[in-house]
Assembly symmetry: C5
């Protein structure tokens, strides 16, 4: 395990605060508070619950001060807007590994839409990024999200999600971020398929607090390394409280 | 804020004289006077109203003397003619950052057609240009114009335009040029979505003088940094007078 | 104006002998004499009427002796055969700028099919060629020919041809070669749209001698810099005589 | 024959343990034991039956310790998931030759889908990889698998498979991995078409033990250099036993 | 004429032994003898009839010993299988010029399918190869074969074949290999269209001995430099005899 990966773990577990939704969904996810990246950083700092925060390049440039922030930076290298809902989506690289290094990143993130007809193009791009990032001592996180007409309706199926997790292992990712698949047994098979690659489960759309805490408990029992959560935190009326509750579940022995 | 960006501001506001229409629309926008780039430069010099002038490479080469001009040069790096009205438009890069530096540019401009199915290709290209331009101490202006069948009829919708402004922030642009969306509240949300990125509103097709001055007043109240105007200036019978009136609105405290 | 451009002018006017038809149309344009590039060179030498001769790379390699020829060489860098009549044509680059330099070229030529759906691809390619050619002290000639379903039937329209001439200015060409549009007024607007870029009119298919001389007269009166003529010369029974008559019209004060 | 190729041979024959199915088919090929790459390595080590083991980059990174493993490593450079069953498949490069060298590889593998409309694209990619791998003293193994509508139903035809084997020779591969074509005569023609290139036959889907041993016997008699087998080993209840039986057939004089 | 071109001539004429059919048609062209490249080399050596032998990279690597062979090597750089009969064919580059140099090549060969909608792509590729090969003192042979729906049925028409020969001249090839067009007059026009480029006629499918000798006689009378023949040699019962008869026709004064 490289030293960058170690920095993203606390008690061998992780919790990432996701804030790439301004790119992926646009400002409609935000209100007057959450539209401001400084507010998100304050949640991370005040809750002390996170081992990583996920930004695109521009947000990191203007809001993340690498000389003083304590939560490690994860720069998401590719992205796609929701303005054109392609049946077979592709997410292009929009930030170089070198720029991520300049911004003070500990890790980079990259999405492959598993099952899309552009899957191979994203795999090619990711394979080069993975090599370069490891050479430059960054940790590598693969977003493995099923998309496209061949997997439609199966985005949370055990076998499809496990395939995505396996790809992460076969391609050398340190972490793989996957959808939640709904039972301890399912999540266990995904963890097993990923081998030495750390599995992290995404939070997804805003649900009630009890639901997200139960998901975290199931994931923990199934052996995942952690979770990456955004809307369920900063759309919450009390982001600090929910952050601390999740941290208690994820990091406990 | 880099020093190039500072050069484009007066009292923390900006007014840009746009003259890329010969490329985007052809000479039909011009009459015997406005077809001549020297005439446009004389408007900028004589009115003293502008903090930037927008040219394509060839016009800058032949008409902008970097040793003697006082209005900063903005070189538009990509462009598309109106000869083939593509449903999903793409605007290719037609000038390098290095050439812009040689021409004496203070900033470069680049258009992303937000919503077009080629959006991702333009984003990729812009992401490389943004890095290179910042490395070479240029300011970076993103033209974020909604286009394509998924946003048709919504080119001036608050949420679509705010999405474009957000993309500019997420990708690290210093300025974002957007369509006018019609009310103080709408423009305010766009400014808020853009965070630390300066919002500038485009002038668009020729309207009567009162209309463009009212738009400027609304934009100013909503908190934009400035405007970029072309046809409403050089198609006017008195370009100097209208330039001075706009400057009075934009730069006043 | 760079020194290479100056070499292509006589009394600030130019006349180019075009011989790229073997590539564009095939040997069917030729008879037993004109199929031989040495014959074409002899017309240029014996008439003393030309300020440039247009060849593709291979012809220049085998027939143009840079140590002894007196008429400046213009190497056409891209080309397209007539074997597959594409509705939306593209003309690929087939010779590098460096190779043109080795061959002793004073200028390079490049075609953009204005209006074609591949227009943007040719513009991108031309923009890189223009930069490189100017860096290496060559003059740059843009062939701006309207093609494609959006301009079909308008290949000689004033506004379409003026748009092509304007693109040449906006992109930094030294010369733009355009179709003949048929009246002094039309050609004047094209010259005005091209600004500091020299306009040269193409000769086109073989017409009777009186017609081509009248065209030359109209072009001269409209303010063009010159003409580029091929078939009307070397398909003529007396190429030397027609060359001298054209030269008299073009170069006279 | 380069020294890397020699390392993959025992008594001028070879037997490779294939484990790229996690990438090509997903974890559905695995059970709780075979999902673990460490288990596969233990089969190779404990049976002493193999002259090579086939992994993708990520598995090699995390499980293959080049300082201590004795079975030579073959890194598969391209791959394709089964999530989108393309009529005309393409398999992109996902690992560089340099990365294979760093991982301690003795050989690289690459698939060309012979007959696919993307065949030419894979051939281009393979031609560059073959040059680079040979320059860096690696052996080169071509997977030549017929795919696509023009060869559907003929994936095991003598002439189609022989064509694939010939391509391997014409392109400079050291080994070619081909489907089993079912008779000594057929396999002999394939071996003859491959000239100096070593032919290895794939094991394919799980069959009963007697069947796979008979195939090995036929292949041996036809003059192949060896086989590459995966599922018929690690889906077997006794992988060590079947490995030793195959080795006895393949390596015997 | 460069020195490499000179090496391919005997009495200013040439005869090439073609053996790229294993790539273009597959082993179905071969029998048990002709499938072996060593047999083909023995024909060249024993007949002393040839000024060049045509191989793909892999065959040259394994069978052509540059330290001892006397017949010059021509490496074919691109190729296409017959497994997918594309209406508009493209033949990708599969060997670099540098690799051809390492193999001891005197010349490289490259096919452009004249008339194919991919013609431009092959021309672009060939233009770069031609420059590089000449820089490295290799001779350059263009295979100019009419293909595609726009020339179907006209693959041996005088004007179409002459156009291909002209392209070879316009692009700087030293030799152009063309189909046989059937009369002295036709072949003469092709030779004239090719200017300083040497015309060589292909042998094509196996015909009876008298026919191929008559074709050679007509070609010789029409002024071609030579022929490139494969199947009519190594599918013949007496390859040495037919080779010598052809040589007598081609090389005689």
């Amino acid at each position: 395990m490289n030293t960058a990966t170690t920095k993203l773990l606390r008690n061998n577990r992780c919790l990432f605060l996701a804030y790439d939704q301004g790119f992926e969904h646009g400002p409609t996810d935000f209100d007057d508070k959450s539209v401001d990246p400084a507010y998100i950083l304050s949640i991370a700092n005040d809750s002390a619950a996170y081992t990583g925060i996920i930004f695109h390049e521009g947000i990191a440039q203007s809001y993340y001060d690498k000389a003083k922030e304590t939560v490690p930076l994860i720069v998401k290298l590719n992205g796609k807007t929701s303005l054109h809902p392609d049946e077979e989506p592709y997410s292009p690289q929009l930030c170089s590994v070198d720029e991520a290094v300049r911004l003070g990143a500990t890790a980079i993130g990259y999405t492959i839409y598993i099952g899309s007809s552009y899957e191979g193009k994203m795999m090619e791009e990711f394979s080069r990024i993975e090599d370069e990032a490891h050479t430059k001592n960054l940790s590598v996180i693969l977003w493995a999200y099923p998309r496209g007409k061949n997997v439609i309706g199966k985005e949370q199926d055990k076998d499809v999600v496990a395939y995505g997790a396996r790809i992460a292992l076969e391609m050398g990712a340190d972490f793989v971020k996957v959808p939640y698949t709904g039972s301890i047994e399912n999540v266990q098979w995904i963890v097993r398929s990923a081998g030495t690659t750390h599995v992290i489960v995404q939070g997804g759309t805003k649900v009630d607090e009890q639901t997200i805490l139960e998901e975290a408990t199931i994931c923990k029992k199934a052996g995942v390394t952690g979770m990456a959560i955004g809307r369920n935190i900063w759309q919450s009326p009390d982001p600090i409280a929910i952050s601390k509750k999740l941290a208690a579940i994820i990091y406990e022995d």
